[in-house]
Amino acid sequence: MHSIPTWAQVVYLACAVCFILALKGLSGPKTARNGNLLGAVGAVVAVLVPFIIKNPATGEHLHHVPLIVAAIVVGTIGGVYGAQKVQMTQMPQMVALFNGVGGGAAALVALLELHEHVAAGDHENWFVWAATAFTIFVGAVSFAGSCVTFAKLQELMTSRPVSFPGLSVLFGGSLIAAVVLSVMLVRDPAMNYGIIIGVLGLLFGLLLVLPVGGADVPIVISLLNAFTGLTVAAGGYVLANTVLLVGGTLVGASGTFLTILMANAMGRSVTNILFGALKGGSTLGGGEASDRPVKSLQPNDAAIMLGYADRVIIVPGYGLAVAQAQHSLRELVDILGERGTQVDYAIHPVAGRMPGHMNVLLAEAQVPYDQLKEMDEINGDFKDADVVLVVGANDVVNPAAKTTPGAPIYGMPILNADEAKNIIFMKRSMRPGFAGIENELLFDEKTQLLFGDAKDSMSKLLNAVKAL
């Protein structure tokens, strides 16, 4: 490794600095985009270096360059295609997928390193072997875990927690086995150990995420993201490469911290999310549609209520994104505004399927930013609101978060829609929201439901209001 030329090492350091500045930029709304760009520049430059310098390990130039370039091209096309084609509502699972493949790559790299060292019969210090084992295991965990989260969010499988008797035993078992094998690998390095550790990692990742409820999945994504960061850091140590070490560590540290921030925003604790299910109680409830009686109303009734209200608050949720009804919603709000009604959007931090989901969606529909009110800002105003229009939201206005200690969303701060004089829900059915629990507010006597896909109902509503 001492054969890396100094200039290359300095370039690596510069790339690492790019990553730092990228994260710094990404944490501020104005600088975010440039930050991301800077990160990309750093990454690209770092990747170019090995094509120029002699390989530190072998002292020769890179072999199989055409093959490598081809592989990069393929990966790039795949990545760009996926990133461009994915719908807004599916971005979280895309992040999960990208994170998973990254973890997988890290695990494979570590396996190859192990293979090289074993073949060459090197006597590395035990710390290197330990780091290798760590990378293989955690990389595999991140890969498997991310795949499951993807499946859950993409609704390839139920988003409800999956648990079975003996899960926790298997869970603990695979972990212990992995540790034992790592010790053995450190004592006498052999390929098979590495492979088995990888398999155990896959199993562990599976068991880690299966019992997690859909609503908590994004937090798990963030956590697995941090995991992958750490594996990359360990890989950087094994390869004695600064960019990998610093870059990976940065992601590991900030990712872990971010995970905690996100969990707090949802009023959940990380350990609870991960091990709640193992501890027995599943993290989320069932998803059956209720058949209790509710009051429903027609678009033109709703139009009258809205048209003659002084103060209206819109509560957008995941359904708005699914129905892509944001544009007609904005039109409706504009018209109400012209009629002299004061209208605001109440944005819950975790409305939708990713933090900031609603901001993105409504920004896309050109809603002026000053109409978007954060939860704390607006929660006081609900009691003065004549009508609250809940468009495809559910959990974020579910009083269970305050009243039902058992509920999966218990403790999550919610929007006080229940304090308004009238509440109109736009949803397709009586099916519950992401958390899969009934929403008492639907049965409140102040509440009326406007059934149907948000987009249709919204355009009907729009015409009705225009007709007033």
């Binding site: 990553f19 199989h64 990254g102 790299v109 073949a119 990976g248 540290a253 900030s254």
Partner: protein
């Protein structure tokens, strides 16, 4: 200085940088930040290239190529995706394009 300690030092310092640097992020930026960080660890691509380029064992090469593909998906896709998210936060003047993409 002992190699291992050097790496440990760099690791520890990076941990502090990583935490401090994002400690002021607002909750609306959580997802882009996560996605951006995710893209950054795609730099494992560098590692994948190094190992693949230094072996001549066919099996190893195959595995290495897979690793390279995966890593570049992570890296490139990650940055593009993040940029797409941020577009919507920052420039509200391009709905047309975003609509098409998001539809």
């Amino acid at each position: 200085m002992n190699e291992a300690v050097v790496w440990l030092t760099i690791f520890v310092l990076s941990v502090f940088v990583g935490i401090e640097v994002i400690s002021k992020v607002s909750s609306t930026l959580h997802t882009p930040l996560m996605s951006g960080a995710n893209a950054i660890h795609g730099v494992i691509l560098l590692g994948a290239i190094l190992v693949t380029g230094s072996t001549d064992n066919t099996a190893a090469i195959v595995v290495g190529v897979i690793a390279i593909v995966l890593a570049s998906v992570n890296m490139v896709g990650g940055f593009v995706l993040t940029d797409r998210m941020l577009q919507m936060f920052t420039q509200k003047k391009k709905p047309a394009r975003n609509d098409k993409e998001a539809a």
